[in-house]
């Protein structure tokens, strides 16, 4: 270090500095290119498919005629993700509460945290495979594909995300709040449900929205659990369509109209996810605990 002391900066070092900084800036620019390209391409290819009919008709599966729209796919995604959320959020938040309020630094808590971390790393296709083995082939609730089985796979995916983010937020709730409530004689469950959760709510909602955004875009868990059909159906015991499955089916098709529908569906899906993501960030920014 002493070699630098009080010596004028040589031209060579200045050049290296400029080159290196330029390289870093260049690489950063490179990082921005894919997103720009994807969004531009999505809009360019997908906008043509968007129309009122696109959102209000089901895919017909008809070979020569009108390919229809994506209504059943949108409804299917909404329904299956909602079902998955209804299961993953209570369980995820429950585990997070346990970790923060009860488990804390105990050995069991370490184990639970470790296993939740393991869940985060499991590839989504392995979740789908697991549900396929246990629920579809295993014949629970009938041996066929079912939307609720797809929701189970999605729920498994969402669980660690919800738990992790909820735990972080719950830890941020100041202990003073809890202690004040205990000092006033409030039972534990009231402290949790009336003090801690409401304070942490914006952060938890952020985590939930991000988990929903993730689950809405997943295809692999649905491949062999909910499969995909064309008609709009609300029966969770049958296969159900979804946006990612529709897109996946239509990629590589030779028919231009089907490809166009895939792009339109992709645009719709990305728009939905972007809205959820931005909503999550907005809530996070307005939260009292950042």
């Amino acid at each position: 270090m002493s070699a630098f002391a009080f010596e004028p900066v040589s031209a060579r070092r200045r050049r290296t500095d400029r080159l290196a900084r330029g390289a870093v800036a260049l690489l950063t620019g490179v990082a921005l290119v894919p997103l720009a390209l994807i969004l531009w391409y999505l809009v360019r290819q997908g906008l043509g498919a968007i129309s009122l009919d696109f959102f209000t008709t089901d895919p017909t599966g008809s070979f020569l005629g009108d390919p229809g729209g994506v209504k059943s796919a949108i409804l299917g995604t909404v329904l299956m993700v909602a079902l998955a959320t209804a299961v993953a959020v209570p369980v995820g938040v429950g585990v997070a509460i346990w970790l923060v309020e009860y488990g804390r630094a105990s050995k069991l808590a370490h184990a639970v945290r470790y296993f939740v971390d393991v869940m985060t790393g499991v590839p989504s296709i392995v979740f789908g495979l697991f549900v396929y083995i246990t629920l579809v082939i295993g014949g629970i609730g009938g041996s066929s594909f079912a939307a609720w089985k797809g929701s189970v796979a999605l729920g498994l995916l969402m669980l660690p995300i919800v738990t992790r983010s909820a735990e972080v937020v719950l830890l941020l709730v100041p202990n003073a709040l809890r202690e004040a409530a205990y000092a006033l004689g409030a039972p534990r469950w009231k402290v949790v449900f009336r003090i801690v959760l409401p304070t942490a709510l914006p952060g938890i909602v952020t985590g939930v929205l991000l988990a929903i955004a993730r689950a809405a875009g997943e295809t692999a868990p649905l491949l062999f659990t909910a499969a995909a059909v064309n008609a709009t159906a609300f029966d969770v015991n049958d296969s159900m369509n979804s946006l990612p499955m529709l897109i996946f089916k239509n990629v590589g098709q030779a028919q231009d109209r089907l490809v166009e529908i895939a792009w339109g569906a992709a645009l719709t899906l990305v728009a939905m996810i972007l809205v959820l993501t931005l909503l999550a960030r907005l809530i996070q920014r307005r939260s009292r605990l950042s």
Binding site: R14, L27, L37, V91, G94, Y102, G121, I125, A186, I247
Partner: protein, 323 residues
């Protein structure tokens, strides 16, 4: 705020002590949540065990070593050698790391050290937005845009550098390289976010010391920031690797799904995740084939477990350093 339920005086030693009945919700909550949390452990353990049990037929028939290291994956002939799949997974992940990590770290450096203050927020949001694009859309874009656009460039590259091993030879549309490139884009947000975190925790004293002694900005980064953040960056890279290993849909749409080990990175291949997605339907009634696919899932699970474990070790070690 009301006080806790007050029990009839004279029955308890303290006015604030609650009756057993009043304590019931607390006990129920505690046991309920504990059961839930233990349930998570049980679920994952069952998960792992079930994978092992269901894949046992193929390991019994073929043997673990042969399953992992023989190169013939031909289900119709009951040959289940997962080497091409393993190779494909590792090759595409390696390409993803090589292409993605430098860019991710550069973006993180730029945002934390070099960018003007006003640009930092928007820039961060843009890089993170890459995570909002679902896998199937990456595949769609890769299939229709990247593959045709890159083919001429790949052909030129393969010709110009054909003396380099694994570069020269025929170029197919879908290939390892395109898959690796898309994976690189997909891991950018995670790797960049973690690198950003770690770089921003570099103590300013280190940085100021370097600058005070006359280092240029780049020299400061090279001497004070990068060495300190090295562990965390490596952790972020490992997390990205874990993501790349398990990625299914985007890869299967652009890799060609050929159960062979290509001669160059510009040829078709297959990965563990892609084979599960493609062949599960045909394996529904074939116990051995199904076991082979579940075996692939098990290998994937173990791989991601290992990689994520290493990642965590790096990140934890980096976080524990004294400031």
């Amino acid at each position: 705020m009301e006080a806790g339920t007050i029990t009839p005086a004279g029955e308890r030693s303290s006015a604030l002590q609650r009756s057993p009945a009043a304590r019931l919700p607390d006990r129920a909550l505690r046991w309920g949540l504990t059961a839930l949390s233990v349930g998570v452990i049980v679920l994952i353990a069952y998960f792992f065990i079930r994978l092992i049990v269901e894949s046992e037929p193929v390991f019994r028939q073929v043997g673990v070593v042969d399953y992992l290291f023989s190169a013939d994956w031909v289900p119709s002939k009951e040959l289940y050698g997962a080497l091409p799949l393993l190779a494909g997974t590792l090759i595409t992940s390696a390409i993803a790391l090589l292409l993605g990590i430098p860019v991710a770290v550069a973006a993180a450096l730029f945002v934390t050290e070099l960018a003007p203050r006003r640009v930092r927020g928007p820039l961060t949001v843009v890089v993170d937005l890459l995570a909002a694009v679902p896998s199937v859309v990456y595949g769609l874009w890769g299939f229709f845009f990247l593959i045709p656009k890159l083919k001429p460039a790949e052909e030129w590259f393969a010709d110009a550098f054909s003396f380099v091993p694994f570069i020269g030879g025929t170029v197919t549309g879908p290939n390892y390289f395109v898959a690796g490139l898309i994976l690189a884009i997909m891991i950018l947000p995670i790797a960049s976010a973690i690198s950003r975190e770690v770089i921003s925790t570099v103590p300013s004293e280190h940085k100021e010391a370097a600058l005070a002694l006359g280092a240029t900005r780049w020299e400061m980064i090279r001497m004070a920031v990068l060495p300190y953040a090295r562990g965390g960056i490596a952790g972020g890279a490992m997390l990205g690797l874990g993501r790349a290993i398990g990625e299914t849909i985007a890869v299967t749409l652009v890799i060609g799904n050929a159960p062979v080990i290509g001669d160059s990175i510009f040829q078709q291949g297959y990965t563990l995740a892609a084979v599960i997605a493609n062949e599960f339907g045909e394996a529904a009634s074939n116990e051995l084939h199904r076991a082979a696919l579940i075996g692939a899932g098990l290998v994937l699970f173990v791989l991601t477990l290992g990689v994520n474990g290493i990642a965590r070790a790096f990140v934890v070690r980096a976080e524990r350093r004294p400031a």
